[in-house]
Structure formats: structure tokens, C-alpha cells
Symmetry: C2
Subunit: 417 residues, 2 copies
């Protein structure tokens, strides 16, 4: 089934905003197995928009328009669909009243333009908007499905997921309920995860896929069926199998993050956390402090410059090592008055087959002792820094849950990133 | 002159990467006054790519293709242009030798595919690539200009700027050299800058425009002429006028940033800098430390959690105030052993016409004394934080250069952001 995406808006042509909507829609369509041949961006011009839809209708099974369904005179997607489908515009009077009431309540005045958001081509289905006022449109015209969704990303995303994709699945003769379970792993490289799950990637319902998110590898199990219970019964055995193969590398699922997990572990113990950071510049602490609930456990972060020369930790300037990381973590704990302290040293170069790689030591102080280990990480600048931040957060998690394991220099996570 | 942009690459359709190239090209075309009606994205498919170019040629004065000129069999832009223009493919043997030598030197093997980057439609001009191997293409066909540039952003940008835009200007009968001078300001809000320069925005050569970059307002003066000296003579008087109206709010130009300016000020005095930060979580220090040359002046950053409770600064927990900011800055200077210290308190709510606004105090310790002032900033979360970081860096700059001025509560920069 070929689906064409049309983005509507002169601001896109002028480059005032980057067209991330088509990437989001394109990715979701690809994930669900629909084909994409063209994406077209067109300005707020009725003749050109109408032409663009006509061309798309001729060469596609479905067309998704994003943008141009707001309240202003520039919003012409509804009009263009009427032109293409030869329908007249009608107003949903019931919804017009809803708009009137909401806008009067919020602003005290009600510009008539807003009622355009209750208009739609005669015979079209109006799609609910969970995050905004403009209703979407769904309409079959000469065997091609036409959908219009908002250009505002938050409104677009929900409408694509909850309204457009189920209709596309139905049109393609597929089950309409789709659920993805995302398992988040840390500790193995991409290739080790891929090898371990190799025989599962061929399956189709559920399908198993993985993607890299910085230093973490996510495994996504996706199933389709006629209802949620059936979907769950398809996912459950595969999830059990994936979890048993990946073991403790799975640290979270769905919306959980390393920050949320770490904050939960600390909160449950009424422990607070401080940091002393070289190469990560205080951003391990900042990541934690800025996360929901982080303020309750965050006790302070100290960023100290290259090679730990003097400063509030009163450490001599010397080459980084596990001993230095342990000393930093212990002193950070007492400096901040925290039960748990993370230390990140500076990095020193490590020759990895000609690629720039550096070694960084990460230490964790907890009430049961202080340990440190090294990471050999590829990359430079911000990329290297973000890997070291992630490694530090995960190292603290493992120290608290006692899942600590020593790095062997051949361990993939010691150099793969 | 109507210019159509075609992005080539299946990875764009699949949403694997966001199509920022068309936004970059769209913005530059708009800045130079060219019209854009359509942008089309098409996959690596010869028939569909050829069709897309044919359609574009019919409705545009120039067509810019980005992507599809690399070495692999998927790279079909050259072939498609040959189809559309009815030209045969020829190889630039001289450049093929350059490719051979470079790749043999780098890798020791030379896959024949790489030579495709020396191919081009007969009679087309090949455009140099400052950052990569693939040459661009420029070709006039039945009154329409066809350009092909790489999809790699760094290669694309330079080729658009140095090769494509001068040719488009010439085709449009305009002077071919264009220079922009960017002046960076801080301290006034967008509307105050706009009002102050209001009568200048109407001029066309040079043109004057402004844009918001977080808390800073940039003013861009752009002129076109036949050579650089002429362009400079057009820009100079306008720049003088703009600078005289904006006074000390202009703190940098071109590639200079608040970090580079501050690092220069500190280095010139052999001063080092430390911070103590509430709401900004250590990121004032991190911004400075991560900037080029920052390591030489950065002495440490301390992030301390909400409302300054205890910690290494040994401050009581109490409501934020100018006095607290002064105490924080003084103690940060001695904690870090730094000549200059910046402090940022936590923020407390401030009622601003129903919008979420908060007050934050920023203090600066220098060898000549310590001062603090308040900022009332709009926004929440990351947005609020980034404004506070910028305000802190600028406040330190003004303290060092003695351009300090007290905030009046009506000063636009005290609440506009």
C-alpha cells in the first residue's frame, strides 16, 4: 500500500521551521510496512495545493496531508480536498458550538474564523484532536484515502497514531490494534544484542527490532491483532524470551529512563546523591537534578577541570586511575553530605585501531563501600561526553543494586561506543 | 525567479533522518529573494526521480537536487539528469585520477564505484566540493537551471553558498557577491531592537534584518555587489549607524559568541573562573569549559540544589535575594580558588500577567568587588534554564568590562524573556 505525505505551509518552504513532521510520519509508515514514494511540501496556495493532492491521488493508495487545517484564511487544506473530491464544504454545527464555548471561556471574544475548524468536505469523517481544536479529515475518493491532520507536532502525532494508522491498517486488510513494547538495555553493544536475538528478527507478528539510543540499545517487540488482549498474548512469550536472553542488561521498559530508575532506587532508600566530575562537567548531576523527582535526591554536583588539579576535592594533580576515581567519589560524598556519590575522572587517550578512543574512570560511593571501573569510549567532544554521562548513571545504578561487574578490557561495552 | 528543491534519498522517506537540508536551502533562497513553490522528497529510484525532475523543470526557473551524487549504485541523480536533459554520461578522467590517488592513499584499495563521482552529463559544469569527493553539477536545460549538490549537510552548505547561489544571482541578473555582517546584541528585547532600527528595515541593499537566538538578538546587514570591496563599502555606513544606535548592547559579531568573548576577557587578565549554581545546575560553568579555550580559564562549577540548603557553600537555607547571590559568588571564588566567580540562585515565582515568570539573582565576584542583580524571566524548564545561563554569562562579561548597569524592574530585559 503506497502512502504519500504532503506537508502544507509556506513557513516550511521558507525554511523557518524544519519539516520534522514528515520524518515522524514516514518512520511510522515504514515501521508498519507501508510504502512511501514521495513526500511533497507546498505553500499556503489553493491552486498549487489542489494540484499537489491531485497528483498524489493518481499515484498513491492513501494521502496524508499535515498542516493547513487551522482557523486562519491561510489554512486551505479543507478547501483543497473539497476541490479534488468535488464535494461542497459543510459545517459541523454541534462542533461549532463547542468551539464557540471554549474560545469565549478562554479569551472572552470569539473571532468567526475559528469556526472554520468545524468545516469539512461533505461526507468526510471528522477525526478527533486530543491536543487541539482543529478536527482531522478522513475521506475515500475514487479508491484513494485522503487524510488531513494538524501541522502542530503534538496534535499530529496522536491523530496519526490513534486515527490514521488504524484506518490505514483496515484499508490494507490488517488487524487494527498495534502495540509496541520497548525494552531498554545497557551493557552490551549493538552487535552483541543483534547476535543474541538474531533468530527473532525474522518473525513478523510480533516483529522484533532494535535501535540504538546513544549508549543504550532498545529492543522493540510489536504485534498487531483485533484487540488489546490478543496483542498482549502475542507479545508476552516473545518478551519473556527476549528478557531471558538479555538478562540484567534490560534495565527499563517503555517510558522509564536511567534517570527515573536511579531516582526510584535512591528514593526507596532515602539516599541522596552528589557528584564530582571531570570530563562530564557536572552534567551527570544536572541530568539527574532536571529529571522528574530528581530535586528530592540531588544533593550537589561539582565540576572540576582537567586532570583534577587541586580545587575543593583537595586532590593532587595526577594521571587518572581507579584510585583517583575512588578518592573523588569518597570526597564528593562528604563534600555534598550525600549517601551516594558518583565520580567521573578526566579522560586519557587510548589507542584503538587508529580511532580516537579515551579511557575514563567512574567511581561510585555508597554506604556499603566505594568502587571504580574504567570505560574505553570512542568519539570526541559532546559525543564522548554523552557516553560518559550515560555510563556514569548506569554504573551508579549497578552499584546500588549490587549488579556491579568488573570491566574486562575485552568486554564489548568497554570500547564499543 | 522560482526555485524548486528536490531531496533525494530513501532514508528521508523512511524518516531515518530529518530533512534539514531543504530547510537550510529554503531559508537561504528566501533570504536572497528567490521564490519557492514546492519541495519534493523522492527515493533512490531512477524512474520516480526522473519524473520528479521533469515536473520541476516545467514549473520552475531553477531546480536544486540534494543527495544521490555519491559513489554507490543507489546514487542516481546524475543518471536522472542525463535522462531529463537527453545527455550522455561522460567521465572527467582527470578527476577520476584524483579520486583514485586519494582513495588508494587513505584505504589501500579502490572500489571502481568511487569513480562514478567523476561522471557527469555531457556539457554540464562540475562544481567543486570543498568538504568531500563528489562534484556537483550545473546545467542549463531548455531555459531552466539544474543543480545537483551532495546530501551530506557540510558539503551541501558550502556548495550552495559558493557555487549555486552566485550562479542563481547571475541567472536572475543580480550582482554575484553577497556578504552578511551579523552583529550580536544582548540586553534589549526583540521589540526594542526592532523599534530602534525600524526605519532601516525598509532598505534593500544593504538589507537589515534581525533574528532571535534564545535571549540574544542578532542584527544581520546583507549587501550584494560585483566585488567584495564594493559590498564592504555598502555595508560599512549601515553598520556604523546600527552600532551607534544599539550602543553597548552589541557584544560580538560573526562567529564570536558570549563564551568566546568571556574567555578572551579572562585570558587577557590571566583570571580563572568558577561558579556556584542553583537553577542552572552547573551549566554556566559547563558552557564555558566546553568552549574552545575554555579549559584554560575554567576552575570549577558547583551545582547546588533547591534553595541553597547547606552544602559546600555553608549557606543557610533561605529565600533567594541579591545578598544570597553575593554570598554565593564570594564563597564560590574561594571554594574554587578563582579570581572571578559567577553565582546563580534558585528561582522564585513572580506574577507576570498570568504567565509563568520567575526571578533569579545572578552575582559576580571579581577582584574589584562583588555585585548581584535580578532577572525576571518567562518560560519553564529547559527554556527558563537556558535564558538564565545566557544572562549569567553576559552579567559576568559586563562585570569584568565594567559595563554593569543595575536592573530597573521596568527594564525590558528584566522580564521580556
Amino acid at each position: 500500500m503506497i502512502v504519500e505525505v504532503i506537508a502544507v505551509g509556506t513557513e516550511l518552504l521558507l525554511g523557518q521551521i524544519v519539516n520534522s513532521n514528515v520524518a515522524v510520519i514516514g518512520r511510522r509508515l515504514a515501521e508498519e510496512g507501508f510504502d512511501a514514494h514521495f513526500q511533497v511540501t507546498v505553500g499556503d496556495n489553493l491552486a498549487r495545493l489542489t494540484d499537489t493532492i491531485r497528483t498524489a491521488v493518481l499515484r498513491s493508495d492513501a494521502v496524508i496531508l499535515t498542516g493547513g487545517i487551522g482557523p486562519t484564511q491561510d489554512d486551505l487544506t479543507r478547501e483543497a480536498i473539497c476541490e479534488v473530491a468535488g464535494r461542497r464544504m459543510v459545517r459541523n454545527e454541534e462542533y461549532a458550538n463547542v468551539i464557540r464555548e471554549r474560545i469565549m471561556a478562554a479569551r472572552g471574544v470569539m473571532p468567526e474564523n475559528n469556526l472554520r475548524q468545524a468545516d469539512h468536505p461533505e461526507g468526510a469523517e471528522q477525526l478527533p484532536n486530543a491536543n487541539g481544536m482543529a478536527l482531522g479529515i478522513s475521506l475515500e475518493h475514487e479508491g484513494t484515502w485522503l487524510f488531513a491532520v494538524p501541522g502542530v507536532p503534538s496534535e499530529m502525532r496522536v491523530m496519526i497514531e490513534d486515527q490514521v494508522l488504524p484506518r490505514l491498517r483496515r484499508a490494507a486488510g490488517e488487524p487494527t490494534v498495534l502495540v509496541s513494547r520497548v525494552l531498554k538495555t545497557w551493557g552490551w553493544g549493538e552487535s552483541q544484542v543483534a547476535e543474541t536475538l538474531d533468530d527473532l528478527f525474522g518473525s513478523t507478528n510480533p516483529s522484533v527490532a532494535f535501535l540504538i539510543d546513544g549508549m543504550e540499545v532498545q529492543v522493540r517487540i510489536t504485534a498487531k491483532a483485533e484487540n488489546v488482549d490478543l496483542v498482549e498474548s502475542l507479545i508476552a512469550p516473545v518478551e519473556t524470551e527476549v528478557r531471558s536472553r538479555l538478562g540484567t542488561t534490560v534495565f527499563a521498559q517503555g517510558e522509564e529512563t536511567i534517570e527515573s530508575i536511579l531516582i526510584e532506587l535512591l528514593s526507596a532508600r532515602a539516599w541522596r546523591l552528589g557528584t564530582a566530575e571531570g570530563v562530564t562537567l557536572g552534567r551527570v548531576g544536572a541530568r539527574l537534578a532536571a529529571a522528574p523527582g530528581g530535586a528530592a535526591v540531588f544533593q550537589g554536583a561539582l565540576a572540576i577541570p582537567a586532570f583534577l588539579a587541586s580545587g575543593p576535592l583537595q586532590l593532587d594533580s595526577r594521571p587518572v586511575s581507579a584510585e583517583v576515581a575512588v578518592a573523588m567519589a569518597d570526597r564528593a560524598a562528604s563534600l555534598h553530605g550525600a549517601e551516594v556519590a558518583i565520580s567521573v575522572t578526566d579522560a586519557h587517550p587510548y589507542d584503538h585501531q587508529g580511532d580516537p578512543a579515551r579511557t575514563v574512570y567512574i567511581g561510585v560511593h555508597t554506604p556499603s563501600g566505594t568502587r571504580a571501573r574504567s570505560f574505553r569510549l570512542l568519539g570526541e567532544g559532546e559525543r564522548f561526553r554523552s557516553f560518559a554521562i550515560t555510563a556514569a548513571l548506569h554504573t551508579a545504578r549497578q552499584a546500588i543494586t549490587d549488579e556491579w561487574r568488573e570491566a574486562s578490557t575485552n568486554s564489548p561495552w568497554s570500547w564499543q561506543w
